[in-house]
C-alpha cells in the first residue's frame, strides 16, 4: 500500500514537471492559456474540443492548467529553496556561537514565528503590493525562521561532537568548522522538512493568488483560476473544479513524498549520512 502511494505521488509530480517543461507543446490552445480571450466560446462545458471546458473569457481551461503548473512548481521550489538559503546560515551561526549572538538571532526568528504562517505572508503581500515576485518574497520571509530553528538545533547538537572538537584543537578557524563540519550535518533535516514544505508552500501561494495578492490575471495560475471561477461555479462547475483538483493532487503528492522521505531518514532506524 505504501509503495502504491509513493508511486502515485512520484507519478503525479513527474507529470506536473513534464507539463511545466513542455507546456507550449502539450497545450492545445497555448495563446488562450496566456490570456488571449475567445468570447465566442465562453463558458462551455467539457467537450472533445475543450477537454476541461472553457472559462468566462472563452479560454481553454486544460491549456491554462498546463501553463499553470509552471507557476505552482516555481513557487514551491523557489520558496523552499530561498527560505532554506536564508534560514540555514542564520541557524548555524546562532547554534554554533551560542551566547549573545544566539539570543539575538533567536529573538528575531521568534518574532516571525509568533505569527500564524499564512497571516504573515498575507500582511507582507498586502503591504508590498500584488505580484508574483512579491508573493514569493512574502512567503520566503514567513518561512525562513522555521529552517533557522531546525538548523540551529542541529548545529547545537553537532558542535560538541568529538570530530568538531578535534578540528578546533587543530586550529581550524570557526568559519571553516561551520562550513565543513556543521553545515553538512544540518542538511538532512532541512531537506526532509523542505520536501514536506514544498506542498504547503504551493498551497499557501495558491491561497495568496486566490485572494488576488499573488500572480495577477490574465496569467494562468491555479489559485487564480479557482478565484476567477468563484463567481460562476454554481452553474459552470468545471471552471474552479479542475484547477483546484490539480492543486490538491500536487500538494498531496508532495506531502506523501515528504512523509516517505521522512520515514526513510528516521533516526530510529539509525541511518548515517556522514
Amino acid at each position: 500500500m505504501k509503495r502504491r502511494l509513493s508511486w502515485f505521488s512520484v507519478l503525479v509530480i513527474f507529470a506536473v514537471v513534464i507539463m511545466a517543461l513542455l507546456a507550449p507543446i502539450i497545450a492545445p490552445y497555448p495563446q488562450q492559456a496566456l490570456g488571449e480571450p475567445n468570447p465566442a466560446e465562453r463558458l462551455q462545458p467539457p467537450s472533445w474540443k475543450h477537454i476541461m471546458g472553457t472559462d468566462h473569457m472563452g479560454r481553454d481551461i486544460f491549456s491554462r492548467i498546463i501553463y499553470g503548473s509552471r507557476t505552482s512548481l516555481i513557487v514551491g521550489i523557489s520558496v523552499t529553496f530561498l527560505a532554506a538559503l536564508i534560514g540555514l546560515p542564520v541557524g548555524i551561526v546562532a547554534g554554533y556561537y551560542g551566547g549573545f549572538v544566539d539570543t539575538i538571532l533567536m529573538r528575531v526568528t521568534d518574532i516571525f514565528l509568533a505569527f500564524p504562517p499564512l497571516l504573515l505572508a498575507l500582511l507582507i503581500s498586502s503591504t508590498m503590493g500584488k505580484g508574483f515576485g512579491n508573493a514569493i518574497i512574502a512567503l520566503v520571509i514567513s518561512w525562513w525562521p522555521w529552517y533557522a530553528r531546525l538548523a540551529r538545533s542541529q548545529a547545537v547538537s553537532t558542535k560538541n561532537l568529538a570530530f568538531v572538537e578535534a578540528a578546533r584543537s587543530s586550529g581550524v578557524s570557526n568559519v571553516m568548522i561551520m562550513l565543513r563540519h556543521i553545515f553538512p550535518s544540518s542538511i538532512p533535516p532541512v531537506v526532509v522538512q523542505g520536501t514536506m514544505d514544498m506542498g504547503t508552500a504551493i498551497l499557501e501561494a495558491a491561497a495568496l493568488s486566490f485572494l488576488g495578492l499573488g500572480i495577477q490575471p490574465p496569467a494562468p495560475d491555479w489559485g487564480l483560476m479557482v478565484s476567477e471561477g468563484k463567481n460562476y461555479f454554481l452553474n459552470y462547475w468545471w471552471i474552479p473544479t479542475f484547477p483546484g483538483l490539480f492543486i490538491f493532487l500536487l500538494v498531496m503528492s508532495f506531502n506523501l513524498l515528504g512523509d516517505l522521505v521522512r520515514e526513510s531518514v528516521d533516526p530510529r532506524l539509525r541511518r548515517r549520512f556522514f
Binding site: 500564524p116 498575507l122 506542498g199 490538491f248
Partner: protein, 308 residues
Amino acid sequence: MPSDPAALWVGPHPTHSSIEAARERLHLNEPLYTRFFYFVRDLARGDLGVSIRTHNPVSEDIFKAFGATFELIVFAEILAVIVGIPLGVYSAVKKDSFIDNASRVLAVAGVSLPGFWMGMILQLVFFRYLGLLPLSGRVDTLMSITNPIAEKTGFYLIDTLISGNFSAMWDVFKHMILPGLTLAAYPIGLITRQVRSMMIEVLNENYIRTASAYGIKKRKIYFGYALKNSLAPAMVTLGLSFAYTLVGAFLIELIFNWPGLGRYAANSILSMDYPAIVGVTLIVAVTYVVINFIVDLIQAKIDPRIKL
C-alpha cells in the same frame, strides 16, 4: 486606485479641501513618531482607531466579526477532535487494516486540500445538486425575520439554545456544517496522524504489555492508559492547528459569505484600510498567543510530568 489614506477616508467625491480636512483629522501631516505615539496611546485605551472604509470604530467592527469567526473555528476544532481522535486510535489499534490505510490517506488529503476549493465543491454537491444545505451566510434571511436570534454571546448556536429558538437553531446549524466541515479538514488530518503515531509508539511500551498480561480489559488499556499518554502531542497539534484554522477561516469566510473576521480583513486589505488591517492583525496575533497559552495549560494539566 488611490492609496492615499486621506483620499480613501473621504470616499467617492474627494475635493481638495475635504482631503486636507481628512489629513488633519487622521494626523497624517505630523511626523512618524508623533503618529506612532497616537497609535500606542489609543491602543492603551483600547481604541484601535476608526476604519477608513466603514467609518466605524475598528474595535466595534472587529468585535462583531469576531464572534462569528470564533464560533466557526470552535465548531471546526470540536469536529476535528470528535472525528480525529477516535480515528487515530482505531488506526493505531488496527494497524495496517483497511480502515487504517484509508484514514491515513484521508489524513494526508485533509492536510493537502485547498480550503477554498473544498468549500466550493461542497457547495456544489450539497447545495446545487442535492439541495440539502444552504449556500452561505450564518442564518436564513427569512428565518432571521420570523425568528430573530437574541444575540447574547455572539455564538448563534448557544444563543438559540438558551432562548429556546429551536427552529433558528436548526437553521444556524445547517449553515455551519459546510464551512465547519471544510475548515475541519486540516485539523482532522493533523490530529489523526498525531494520535495514530503516538498511540503506536505508546502501545509498544512495556507498561501496556504488563497491563495486558494482568488481564485488564482491552478497552480500558486503550482509553485509560494508552490514550492518556499519547494525548499530549495531540494537544500541541491542536493548538498549532488553531493558527491554521484562524487563517483558513479567512478564505472560507469569503466563499461562504460568513460575516466574520476573515471577510472583514479581506475587505480591509482590498480597500487598503490601514487602521482596520492593523487592528485585525493585532487581534489575531493576540488571540493566537492566548490560544497557545491555553493549550499549554491544558497540556500541563493532562501530563503531570510537565511543569509550568
